[in-house]
Symmetry: C2
Subunit: 384 residues, 2 copies
């Protein structure tokens, strides 16, 4: 279809520009991976798929673990250093940028250290335990003149750009009225006992920081990144014995009457729903964070839908639109980050402020949901 073809050519053009460095220099951005978490496997593949990025080093708490990561992910030990500490990665002059999938509580010290050493920063979500911590990271990045980006991959899929185009069309979508965003998966017993995301000292936000990050980001994205005024957590919160959130719900309210509901859980079957309703249109998809498959991804969109005369059916079904992606969304994320880093290195670009700004807004929403929980489910203002 035309939409898919158009989107594909946009991606092709963008990747071509990326390959040239965007800012005029052609050298690939060299990544150091700080921490060998499971998610680092996916991102290391993405770095290798991106036309303007490469892996220079991997660091974890033991050299053995780093060497195993290289072996398991087909990384050439002659080209990729395997360090037994995070510090060595940050000290390696061959490393331009750091991808950091550490437990959230370690983000603040290590992200600041990376920025202080002049490394551009691709930081796993949640970016910090609270916006105040993230602000320290962002201040360090700003002081060092390095690019900051979080790893919300779906934002980089061409499907997301196509959905944004429709939501921004007053004739097709009108004004945004409400968002419903759900991301749940059913963790097994091992996860609920041992995963870092249920440990108060490692990832204190639990499901709110993990799956909730995407729900909050989706609401902000739909709202054009306008911040809601208040958040109210829903009763029915589930925490583990250590007080870490395993399941939550929340509502967000904007000054102009827009609203959103978020639901994230480690205790329910894998579900990934985004439904966005305006005055004239509705967008819906069931795989907004991780598309069902690489390549093409789809969503449903309807505009000015109506019932038949006797309300015995609809005049039309919501249209299913398919958008192709030449590269997986995580590779497009790496490519965009590397395009910016390349431009900054080459002197043609300044750090793009959009990325830290939307990370910060996401974190502010999580802060407010957490504050509402702490207040016994009363409304909490979203900070600015």
């Amino acid at each position: 279809m035309t939409t898919a073809a158009a989107a594909a050519s946009v991606v092709a053009a963008s990747v071509a520009a990326t390959a040239e460095g965007g800012g005029g220099d052609g050298a690939a951005v060299r990544f150091g991976i700080v921490g060998c978490a499971e998610i680092a496997r996916k991102v290391s593949r993405a770095i290798r798929m991106a036309p303007n990025a490469s892996i220079a080093a991997v660091g974890s708490r033991s050299g053995e673990k780093s060497r195993r990561f290289l072996a398991e992910n087909d990384l050439d030990p002659a080209a990729v250093a395997a360090y037994g500490s995070y510090e060595e990665v940050l000290d390696d002059p061959k490393v331009d940028a750091v991808y950091m999938p550490l437990p959230t509580s370690l983000h603040l010290p290590w992200a600041v250290a990376a920025a202080d050493k002049g490394k551009h920063l691709l930081l796993e979500k949640p970016t910090a335990l609270c916006a105040a911590d993230l602000d320290k990271i962002l201040a360090a990045c700003a002081a060092a003149g390095v690019q900051f980006m979080d790893t919300t991959m779906w934002i980089h899929h061409p499907r997301t750009a196509e959905m944004r185009r429709l939501l921004s069309d007053p004739a097709l979508f009108g004004d945004l009225r409400s968002v419903s965003s759900i991301f749940t998966f059913r963790a097994d017993d091992d996860f609920l006992k041992n995963d870092i995301r249920v440990k108060p000292d490692l990832d204190a936000l639990g499901a709110l920081g993990d799956v909730g990050w995407y729900c909050a980001r989706a609401a902000l994205w739909a709202a054009g990144y306008g911040l809601p005024a208040t958040a109210v957590a829903h009763r029915g919160l589930v925490t583990n014995d250590a007080g870490v959130i395993l399941s939550f719900g929340a509502s967000l309210q904007w000054e102009d009457g827009k609203m959103a509901t978020l639901h994230g859980s480690f205790l329910s079957h894998l579900t990934m729903e985004l439904s966005v309703t305006g005055t004239r249109g509705t967008l819906r998809l069931s795989d907004f964070i991780i598309p069902f498959a690489e390549g093409g991804a789809s969503f449903a969109f309807s505009s000015e839908a109506a019932f038949t005369e006797l309300v015995t059916g609809w005049r039309s079904k919501p249209g299913e639109r398919v958008v192709d992606a030449e590269l997986p969304q995580e590779a497009l994320m790496v490519a965009e980050f590397s395009r910016l880093v390349g431009g900054i290195k080459g002197g043609s670009l300044k750090p793009e402020r959009k990325w830290p700004e939307i990370s910060r807004k996401t974190q502010l929403v999580l802060d407010a949901v957490k504050a509402s929980i702490d207040k016994g489910f009363l409304p909490a203002e979203v900070g600015v």
Copy 2:
């Protein structure tokens, strides 16, 4: 597919049983329509489509209006009486059962009057302004030994039975964890000014009683009609100058940790989402109240969904299941109601208590949402 074929044969068998009266007598149930609201056109068609029902009389506040209704809906004036009052319908001995699409505030007096005159009652939703009013109607029906049913049509679609079958399967769906239910449509200026659903003296519950009825029923249906313990209305409520609800959101909490969110509005684009998540499965559809088309209707269901090893996609997409219906859901509703009425008339059946019970539970949930609104969005207990 097998599911559709199986469902179709279930419907065929059910309709055949219905045509025989179910309770052993073969005469069609003769309906009187009390009130010529727009929705009466759809239901009069349904009565004529049902194999065990016919229309005997139509009554409105003027004979002229009733005669026009007959003409506009191809009803034969030789076979269908056109009365200039509601009372004449209730007094007509040829009328076995009454379909009553009056404004909600008129339900209490007229539904009680109908029951008192021995008429079986198919009552439009919301069934009453509050559960206490409905209880008076149900008491009158019980005293008269007549069948009560509300007009929640989607409950009668074979798709709903097939969805129920899946939700009840512990291996496929597990335990219910959460429901998200949305029904919005964008009313035009004329509706927002003149429709009975925005008038405090006619339909004081506004969008909560109208679209909200379906959202509340869907949550109850998913929960096997177990009542939630509490309801909390969401901030961001919109009312008109007279205080009638135009848009609302709410959360429901069950004692065992299940939760639901409801959203209904007259101010947003036509949207009809139901998403039901268990520990092992997820059900989703975008036309749960009014299927996109008559005939086949579909829904998405996934069970034990999982990501690929590197979380770059899903192992499978949620399966789309199609269920055929030989008759439109509203005709199946009339057929089921008429089967019960026929059986009661023939002496082989007692009034089926399931139908008044689920109406009452739906009304109790609406009461609790209203109570939460009145308390300033604090939790309200759901009555029993």
